[in-house]
């Protein structure tokens, strides 16, 4: 009896050793994916996660023979740069990942970036859009967007349509960037900014701000608010105070009317004009296939927003590098591959990485919220810019 038990243990131990020995012999690439799964940012984090999972499900096996990918998912708990930095450090030091990707929030990515410079860790932002982050680390690349990319062309377009605009943005780096980009382009085009307000990032009440906008009687209000519940809340405040009826147009980057939140906003969102790189209503074949795959996976009534596409394309880039290097990841060679990356058929249209700045090059579309087939959609009405590099970096080249 006793002998049998000891034997069982010995056999179990051996099988463990054999099993682990076997899995090491294959080339395993470890990828750290950071998103937000708890706290107020969880809905956006969930979108990022869905993009990541959808990619893994559809394309997770498109690897050279003998190469495996192991993903390690971590929760950064929201716009919480300290936690994010700690998690990234743990992924690098403890889990020994070869890529870090994901990352929803700009402050988090800004905290992680210097670390990736020290550790030589390719870090691909799937969302965090802070314009200057690429300058903080030569191992940083971005597949998402910058707010300059959306707001600068939107400012140029607005200068032809409106005379007086009020800006209302969230009081953190992306908000400041949106305001700066829009204001610069709008003023260059001859427009007048009649007022500018910055709204606290944490739990704001938008009604007093919208009231101030209404009292100033501008032609339009330009706003950047983090996509998600906050964007829905400002939209409601805009409608409740009757700014739409007072003839004040609502404009901003696509964060205002993300495809997943749009249905919850209701009719007040109709006619809102945004500039962005992705709309679920885009009629490119690659996008139609992508939206269909998303609906099949997560439900007919859901639409993928730009977070989903960001995470999907980030994983596409990671897999591209793994394929090019045949699973043997060297950080410097990985960055060379990343700098040459071009994808003609992303759901958002053709994209590429700018070899100079490691930032995304993509099209920007002007969209209007319309009702299409009973649901609200960001209908692309014009291509504002084709293969647009980040305008801020053209104005502020790295010294």
């Amino acid at each position: 009896m006793k002998v049998a038990r000891i034997l069982t243990v010995v056999v179990a131990l051996f099988s463990v050793v054999l099993f682990t020995g076997h899995s090491v012999s294959a080339q395993t690439v470890k990828v750290g994916f950071i998103s937000t799964y708890s706290g107020a940012g969880a809905p956006q984090g969930d979108q990022l996660d869905k993009g990541f999972k959808l990619f893994m499900k559809l394309n997770g096996d498109k690897l050279p023979p003998g190469v495996k990918v192991e993903t390690i998912v971590r929760d950064d708990t929201g716009p919480n740069p300290e936690t994010a930095k700690r998690i990234a450090q743990e992924l690098i030091v403890r889990d020994k990942v070869q890529f870090i990707t994901g990352v929803l929030w700009t402050p988090n990515a800004a905290a992680i970036a210097p670390l990736t410079a020290e550790a030589k860790m390719p870090f691909i932002s799937a969302n965090a859009a802070g314009v200057a982050i690429p300058y903080a680390s030569p191992y940083f690349a971005r597949v998402s967007f910058t707010l300059w990319q959306a707001c600068y062309p939107l400012g140029q377009w607005s200068a032809k349509k409106f005379k007086r605009v009020y800006t209302a943005v969230s009081d953190f780096a992306p908000g400041h960037e949106a305001e700066e980009a829009f204001t610069k382009a709008f003023k260059e085009g001859g427009g007048e900014i009649v007022g500018a307000v910055r709204i606290p990032l944490a739990n704001p009440d938008f009604v007093p701000y919208m009231q101030r906008v209404k009292d100033a009687k501008p032609d339009a209000v330009f706003s950047f608010i983090p996509a998600g519940k906050q964007a829905t809340a400002i939209m409601k405040a805009y409608g409740d105070l009757g700014l739409d009826k007072a003839g004040i147009k609502f404009i901003g980057p696509g964060d205002l009317t993300t495809d997943d939140e749009l249905q919850g906003m209701g009719d007040v969102a109709l006619g809102v004009i945004t500039a962005h790189h992705y709309s679920a209503a885009g009629d490119r074949p690659a996008n139609k296939a992508f939206v269909a795959a998303y609906k099949k996976e997560y439900g007919e009534k859901l639409f993928p927003g730009f977070f989903v596409v960001g995470a999907y394309d980030a994983m596409e880039l990671v897999f591209h590098v793994i394929r090019e290097l045949k699973g043997k990841i060297d950080p410097d060679r990985a960055m060379e591959v990343i700098k040459q990356y071009k994808n003609p058929s992303s759901p958002r249209g053709p994209i590429a990485i700018d070899p100079e700045t490691r930032d995304i090059v993509q099209n920007e579309y002007l969209r209007e919220v319309r009702r299409v087939g009973g649901v609200l959609a960001n209908v692309e009405i014009e291509t504002l810019a084709t293969a647009l590099k980040d305008p801020w970096k053209q104005l502020h080249p790295k010294k």
């Binding site: 708890s38 929760d75 743990e90 402050p107 905290a111 606290p200």
Partner: protein, 323 residues
């Protein structure tokens, strides 16, 4: 580990060296976990400072992160904006700053008791948070304070990616903090504090300067929390707004309750158990880990009123009785 306090013998028992042995062992045995270890050590120091006022002096506070945050921001701002990067100087500066904040805010809140006091501590932490949020040019606001670089300790030991230096610095600082708190608890001063906690009217009646004693311990506690804050800045080389938030204060109190309030080693056990559980759960279940933490707390509150150490005491007593 029975009753600690003035009545107990102040001699250091051999068991009290065990945590330090464990701390040194971790350095050699678990090199991949040193950053995490540094975080735990920082939290133990922070919990120790809270235990001093909550557990021993009976001051209720939910705003202790104000001092942690003040220390963190002072160290961070000096390093990032003034380019004063010596880690030891930063620790001293943070101690002084947190002490000043402690004495000024303590002078107000210690005139009140109970719920009023609780509300005031919350209000002060909220004020500090808002100041840090609004003073964007200095603190970085919601984006956090980046660009913090810390010089090597004594010009020799660089803060490395693996956190070796940070871990040892935290361990040594914690040892100093532990020694100070232990001395305080076993001193007549510590006895006055326990007296005030148990019956402040009576302490007044026997002529003890209650307010001055409370202010003194509050300031000392604030200074220790400030050191912990500065340690966190030096380890992370970054300061975010959340160091001043309500969450760290609340979490810290939870850790202390988990370990056992009003006992020196409760402040050691709580953070170790809480943070390791948090780390393990967050890795295993990135989407549901808060649920695990919640369950753990419910169980402790239901079945271990005196915290884990209280539970250990009860078990030990039962074993002794049955023998």
């Amino acid at each position: 580990m029975s009753e600690t306090g003035y009545a107990a013998s102040p001699r250091i028992r051999w068991t009290e060296w065990l945590p330090w042995l464990a701390g040194v062992a971790v350095f050699f045995l678990l090199p991949e976990y040193l950053l995490f270890g540094a975080r735990i050590l920082t939290y133990i120091l922070f919990a120790l400072s809270l235990d001093l006022i909550v557990g021993y002096a009976g001051i209720v506070t939910l705003g202790h992160s104000a001092f942690f945050g003040a220390g963190a921001y002072v160290a961070g701002i000096l390093a990032a904006k003034v380019k004063l990067t010596d880690p030891i100087v930063l620790l001293v500066a943070a101690t002084v700053a947190a002490g000043v904040l402690g004495v000024t805010t303590g002078a107000v809140i210690l005139r009140t008791r109970g719920l009023t006091q609780l509300m005031l501590t919350l209000a002060i932490a909220a004020l500090c948070l808002e100041v840090a949020n609004k003073a964007t040019p200095i603190t970085g606001g919601a984006d956090g304070l980046s660009g913090v670089t810390i010089a090597p300790i004594f010009g020799l030991f660089r803060f490395d990616l693996f956190g070796k230096t940070a871990y040892l610095l935290c361990l040594v600082t914690l040892l100093a903090g532990w020694w100070l708190v232990r001395r305080l608890i076993y001193s007549p001063f510590g006895a006055t504090l326990t007296g005030i906690r148990e019956n402040s009217d009576r302490m007044h009646a026997i002529g003890a300067p209650v307010y001055r004693r409370l202010l003194a311990v509050y300031t000392i506690s604030a200074m220790i929390a400030g050191v912990a804050g500065a340690l966190s800045t030096e380890t992370n080389q970054f300061v975010g707004l959340n160091v001043l938030g309500f969450e760290p204060s609340g979490e810290l109190l939870v850790m202390l309750i988990l370990g056992g309030v009003g006992r020196l080693y409760g402040a050691f056990v709580g953070p170790v158990v809480f943070l390791i559980a948090q780390d393990a759960l967050a890795k295993q279940f990135p989407q549901f880990w808060y649920l695990g933490i919640g369950l753990m707390l419910v169980l402790v509150v239901l079945f271990a009123r005196g915290g884990l150490l209280g539970l250990a005491d009860a078990l030990a007593a039962r074993v002794r009785r049955s023998v």
